[in-house]
Symmetry: C2
DNA sequence: TACTTATTTAACGATGGTGTTAAATATTGT
DNA sequence: ACAATATTTAACACCATCGTTAAATAAGTA
């Protein structure tokens, strides 16, 4: 789907799961603001909603510093632990 | 518990949860090798099992490089995205 | 030995996640 | 208006997690 719009049918194929299940997954993603839906005849074309993914990316990066310092502390603790 | 041994009773208090529930949590932690149990009369004294926690710490650190490079890529992608 | 205390185990129930099948809905072509 | 196609929704079931209460177990004490 990263390459553009895809009808639900294409997203269902080869996934070893019923269309109903996929459909509900898509609904959740849509409600979460991660994908968009557009009707074309009886088909629903799905595509990415850049804003939503961007928000996740930004959030992820915003936590980076927290994790860096946490891992630093963990490494320090391990080293101190080895000094016995 | 990081300060030493504690009887189950102490671990139950103030947790707003039944003793039975805490007891099962302790059992899971013990089976996971994260805590030790020792009997003293009718009490069970719990303490940390350093090896288990250490294994988790080591594993965590072992993933650090993976995440660093992943986040680097994410940051790069965000920057490229902003050049529009 | 029987009682009390500390803790665990058993049996049960609520909740959330996620899959399935069958019915409902919308759109297009006859 | 009717049938076929694409997709969604409804109803149901399964399983794991996690809490509860009540019964079981073990140790110390009268």
């Amino acid at each position: 789907m990263s390459q553009g719009e895809l009808p639900a049918g294409d997203l269902i194929e080869g996934r070893g799961m019923s269309g109903a299940a996929i459909s509900r997954h898509l609904k959740v993603l849509r409600q979460a603001g991660l994908i968009k839906q557009r009707a074309q005849g009886p088909q629903r074309l799905y595509s990415i909603q850049p804003d939503g993914l961007r928000a996740i990316a930004d959030w992820t990066i915003s936590k980076r510093e927290f994790w860096e310092t946490s891992l630093d502390r963990l490494e320090t603790a391990i080293l101190e632990d080895e000094e016995l």
